[in-house]
Symmetry: C2
Subunit: 335 residues, 2 copies
Amino acid sequence: MVTIAEVARRAGVSPSTVSYVLSGKRAISTETRERVRRSIHELGYHPNAGARALAGNRSHVIALMMPLRTDMYLPVMMEIALAVATTARTHGYDVLLLTGEEGAAAVRRIADSASADALILMDVELDDERLPLLDEIAPPAVLIGQPADPAGLTCVDLDFAAAGARCVAHLAELGHREIALIGEAPAVYARHTGFAERTLQGARAAARELGVRMLHRPTEGSYDAMAAQITRIFDERPGTTGLVVQNEAVVEPLLSLLRQQGRAVPEDISVVAICPEQVAAQASVRLTSVALPAQEMGRRAVERVVDRLEGREHRPLDLLAPHLTDRASSGPAPV
Amino acid sequence: MVTIAEVARRAGVSPSTVSYVLSGKRAISTETRERVRRSIHELGYHPNAGARALAGNRSHVIALMMPLRTDMYLPVMMEIALAVATTARTHGYDVLLLTGEEGAAAVRRIADSASADALILMDVELDDERLPLLDEIAPPAVLIGQPADPAGLTCVDLDFAAAGARCVAHLAELGHREIALIGEAPAVYARHTGFAERTLQGARAAARELGVRMLHRPTEGSYDAMAAQITRIFDERPGTTGLVVQNEAVVEPLLSLLRQQGRAVPEDISVVAICPEQVAAQASVRLTSVALPAQEMGRRAVERVVDRLEGREHRPLDLLAPHLTDRASSGPAPV
DNA sequence: AGGGAGGGTCGAAGCGCTTCGACTTCTGTT
DNA sequence: AACAGAAGTCGAAGCGCTTCGACCCTCCCT
């Protein structure tokens, strides 16, 4: 194992000088710096992580905590996780992956053992059990998603209210006057999940303002549930010409059902989705959609973390503006 | 911050005794042990990770390296990652998440800095650039998936050859005589991806043995590609009554297309998939399938790692037997 | 009764790094 | 010409833990 002492010896300097070259915390002459750099490179030196953490009191690790419920959105979570990991690396951090299984205990453990310099909590629930702990621990935390009371917390999230409004506005602009919002499963609303409720509020407000009638229909994520739902919607509001979908699992079933019923997209009915770009682009009809910017959220979360670790100022709430991409699933309302 | 010294003082023993209670490496009287345990609990003590790693020469961390190409299988990867993380915790390890982006350099860095006690490489490619490095580094590695030459490496994988054979055998038993294997995208075969080729080989061998004609059709993961493919298959082999699908992305498009064409599943045509249980169970027709046991693979990979870290013996190749679940998409061949 | 063998505990020596204070040059002033 | 201050480097003191060797008991054997 190569140590800092060996690097120092080969460069003809003391270990502390090597350390200062590495950290840049003291001025080092160009000549010495280059000699040390060469020595590091030639020996393939990488500082021992444990020793560095112990002496420097910083682990250079960011802990990424998965949501308590991992029953859905696996692809989105994965995208966020990968973005967090790659962004973290560009700032010199590694990422520790924690599952929701340990719950709040994991927060304690990581903080007490100084295993990480900061925490990123994914998909925070409205009354997340881990939140109260966040005040008591030393490492700063950044949330992806918004809890009921975000006061004093740093959050990164898509502006779901604006996203809902944007979808409705898009349909309204195309002349649609009766639309339906096909949402997440009823259970998701029942537990007042932040993003689902905010989307709904934003959509409702926009509908009201733009003079559009809107039905809200939470839908279970299965083909059969979608089939039952679509029937109900057209029974209740035969004039419906626009659909907003916020439920990845029923996107393809929905399109399939519309085809079966002989309703052409977008000629007879327009569909706008709130989902990852990939889902929208690969669906059987290329979907007009507001993107769920998973990577961007991961990246920003890391940036907020690094801001705080380096004592920089930053706003506590980082809300991403929704971006709607017009694809093949939406068009003018039929006359 | 609570240190081992404080725990020791409160328990009226020396720090080394506390350490021995924690590690169990020396005999401690029941009485002392209990006193120390109580002290630990009351103070909420968690050993400093850096200090422990430095002194003990083990980080209690397992590095999980993502595949070089992360363009597909995000949900499966996520499932594996979560299983790895939770299993690791039951053995006292945390998981460091590394993206493929850094490539082989990450292997070096983690090994040299002693950031992890072992590596798990996901979705290894046939000629993975990281493999040669594995011999040169200290921490043991376990692969999920099989490279071209698995000699000297520890691998965990589903027995894809057996999985392919099992699907064919299932259809043969139901009386099907002409079947097609709808596979991954052509590019996947072009780069000789292990799991795809093995599945094909197993399926072919079984077909030959059981007197079944089998067509192999690599298919791009889009609705349009699937539509074109299904037309070709029935043009070429109108007598086809069974399909094996190994391509998550086209499962739902396929079912939708069959419906549109008025082909009933399973009355007119049987479908068997190789995919995660969730996909099979939530499809618009509940699919007979061989499960892709993502969690099991993650779990086993960690167990192989722990075996090696604790010097236990274990076989280098851990091939999971495929398990076929009979659901609603397969039935007797039509007469 | 004496000695060997464990069992149980402690003190101290590091593990490899960062950082503080101190020391030695080298500037640029007056 | 003398000196303040900056620039550049070093030595040594830890960071909190594990582990080795040493020590002291108690017990059992001969």
